[in-house]
């Protein structure tokens, strides 16, 4: 596998402006992805994971605003490009697979025409036949029956629609696929099929993937690197296996133990308390009010993301005093 850098996010912050206050939904998030790497971002609702996803794709809309940081796609710094080039880069290199597939398709267009729409902006109607092969190949890659192409979205099941959305959004063979909870509201068996489709698309184009979700179990089936987000920050990030077998951050531990198992019957463990309101964040660590392992320092100041025990972690419990805060140290997947 080549180690071509696909995306470098540095200190990205996104804020929402409301009448009452300005809240920071994504707070100085940084990570790199190379070609073919798969990153999972997990967090509760309100953790900022979807805001981060839209920001990477340049889809941030008012009242959200990117206030600091940079996004580098390949060689290009996204925010430094002129508007027109930026749009072209984003269209060519980044695919966004939205959460609500049901609402992402045009209800009054046949599926084939929606594929064409994505492929052929500005191509005249009579030239469009040459795209037939591409459309059919892409539809088959995600396991869609070709007869579905002449149907309307309402004639498709939820899983089929989600696969159509995956096929359409990745039709330009992007370098980076950002998928925001592509399988929520689908049942387990369909979830499995949809992830399989996503995986096939990823393998075919060897794209880097950012998969956003709240279900660690589901993410574990797909990603190599896992990042745990809490209140706008990445609190722990590392190779999937490392985090699953040996989670260090108290929040990650809780998240993993709250997954119901089919192997062992036990008390269902939740995470006590509620995520903090972003407009009233605690002075110290955001997780401190819910944390069972807190120490004195936690309520005083907020820990930063540092390298410890083969991962990056933002927790005072694992904050060694050596100043190896080199954030460019990469935590690689296996």
């Amino acid at each position: 596998m080549s180690t071509e850098l696909i995306v470098r996010i540095s200190d990205l912050s996104v804020t929402y402006e409301t009448k009452a206050s300005t809240v920071t939904a994504v707070n100085e998030v940084s990570f790199n992805l190379n070609r073919g790497e798969k990153l999972g971002i997990v967090g509760e609702s309100g953790s900022g994971k979807s805001t981060l996803g839209t920001a990477i794709c340049g889809l941030t809309k008012y009242p959200a605003r990117v206030t600091s940081g940079s996004i580098q796609i390949g060689e290009q710094m996204l925010f430094e490009l002129p508007q027109k080039e930026r749009r072209a880069t984003m269209l060519r290199d980044i695919a966004y697979v939205p959460q609500a597939a049901m609402n992402s398709l045009n209800p009054s267009m046949r599926i084939r025409d929606q594929f064409l729409d994505a492929l052929s902006r500005g191509v005249s109607r009579k030239d469009q036949n040459r795209f037939d092969d591409i459309i059919e190949a892409r539809a088959q890659r995600v396991g869609l029956d070709l007869s579905l192409l002449t149907r309307y979205p309402h004639q498709l099941s939820g899983g089929q629609k989600q696969r159509v959305v995956i096929a359409i959004s990745t039709i330009l063979s992007p370098k980076l696929i950002v998928a925001d909870e592509p399988t929520s509201a689908l049942d387990v068996i369909i979830q499995r099929q949809v992830l399989k489709s996503l995986s096939e698309v990823q393998v075919a184009s060897n794209a880097a993937v950012v998969l956003i979700g709240h279900d660690i179990g589901l993410l574990a089936q797909f990603v190599d690197i896992l990042a745990v987000m809490y209140a706008g920050k990445i609190v722990e990030m590392g190779a999937l296996e490392t985090l699953l077998t040996n989670p260090k951050h108290p929040y990650t531990k809780k998240l993993i133990s709250s997954i119901p198992s089919v192997l062992r019957r036990s008390n269902l463990a939740g995470i006590p308390g509620l995520p903090p309101s972003l407009s009233e964040l605690p002075v110290g660590c955001s997780f401190e009010p819910r944390c069972e392992e807190k120490i004195e320092k936690c309520s005083i100041s907020s820990p930063s993301l540092k390298v410890a025990s083969a991962r990056k972690i933002a927790c005072w419990l694992y904050d060694s005093d050596d100043t190896s805060t080199n954030t460019s140290v990469r935590v690689r997947g296996s």
């Binding site: 939820g158 089929q160 387990v188 574990a220 119901p260 198992s261 995470i271």
Partner: protein, 335 residues
């Protein structure tokens, strides 16, 4: 004679063809029998994928739909034949929890109104101050702070909070049976445990039976006493949850269990998974034939019969044809 009983006897549901262009009727639920009384409150899970008929089963139990054949009886009276008074009693004692906490509220009413209405409608509260006290107590019971909840609109609350308001509302009705249709599929994993633990508490403290409808066998395994696995309208496997999940017999149950995403790579999804999506309404035999690894020609023709594997464990599959035939009714009577 129990004070409360709800009985389904060979109840089935077929959705008619809607128009001439429609391909035909859909057998959403094949005849199913089950019985819930207040003598032994239990959590019964109904598990299956989309199109398995689990929501149809819920709407039969709740009286939203009439069965095409068979009966649904409340305290020994058919749902369609309930008197006005009995109907009101039925509506109060059998309560739904809906899937989508974002779509099930009228956003123009404050939480107070939502909670007060059932108290007035069913004449539960003796006075406005009694109603107020009941509401406050119930909100605390479901883990909400009355001061932070009352006076607000549903849009000001999170999904988990709304789902808890839903539980508070139905608790006020003093139900005997709760039909929870995917109550946690749209909320975060940390809230999921809270809501499920609350449901368990309702069973233990108030003796309320719960029918828990889900596609997630993991949560079903954690909270239910009995489980019914549906596939395309047919009961594939049923019985005590531990037995069904720990030693599944039906090939479909096995695939359902293996589809639960586990937070490790040992139980990975890498293996192939076959599925069919076309309509099998007019075919005969076992619906799972098309994708079953153990299928033989016979499966396509012969209807699978429910057979007893052991005490309170039943399966409908050709593989177990040597076992004695049984009635599903027994599943939920025996304990």
């Amino acid at each position: 004679m129990p004070d409360f009983s709800l009985t389904l006897t060979e109840a089935s549901k077929t959705y008619r063809a809607q128009s001439r262009t429609d391909k035909g009727a859909v057998k959403a639920l094949l005849p199913i029998s089950l019985r819930v009384t207040d003598e032994s409150p239990r959590v019964i899970a109904v598990a299956g994928e989309s199109g398995s008929g689990k929501t149809t089963l819920a709407s039969l139990i709740l009286g939203f739909q009439q069965p095409t054949s068979g009966n649904v009886e409340f305290n020994g009276v058919q749902l369609a034949k309930l008197s006005k008074k009995q109907k009101s009693e039925f509506r109060r004692t059998v309560q739904p929890v809906l899937q989508d906490p974002f779509a099930s509220y009228n956003q123009f009413y404050k939480i107070d109104h939502i909670l007060r209405m059932p108290l007035i409608k069913y004449g539960i509260a003796e006075s406005p101050s009694h109603a107020d006290a009941l509401i406050r107590k119930t909100l605390s019971d479901v883990g909400l702070v009355p001061e932070q909840t009352l006076g607000r609109y549903p849009t000001q609350l999170s999904g988990g909070q709304r789902q808890r308001i839903m539980l508070a509302r139905l608790l006020l009705c003093e139900p005997r049976l709760i039909v929870a249709d995917e109550p946690v599929s749209m909320i975060d994993s940390s809230y999921r445990a809270i809501i499920l633990n609350l449901l368990m508490k309702l069973k233990d403290q108030y003796g309320i039976s719960i029918i828990y409808i889900t596609h997630d066998v993991a949560t079903a395994y954690q909270i239910s006493d009995e489980i019914i696995v549906l596939y395309r309208g047919r009961v594939a496997e049923a019985g005590q949850t531990r037995k069904v999940i720990e030693s599944p017999k039906h090939p479909y149950t096995e695939s359902l269990i293996s589809s639960v995403p586990m937070p490790d790579r040992i139980h990975s999804w890498d293996s192939e998974l076959a599925t069919v999506t076309h309509n099998l309404a007019n075919e005969t035999g076992c619906e799972y034939t098309a994708i079953c690894q153990h299928a033989v020609a016979q499966c396509k023709v012969v209807e699978p019969k429910i057979r007893a594997v052991a005490g309170n464990h039943f399966v409908a599959c050709r593989l177990y044809d040597d076992l004695p035939e049984a009635q599903l009714f027994d599943v939920l009577k025996a304990n």
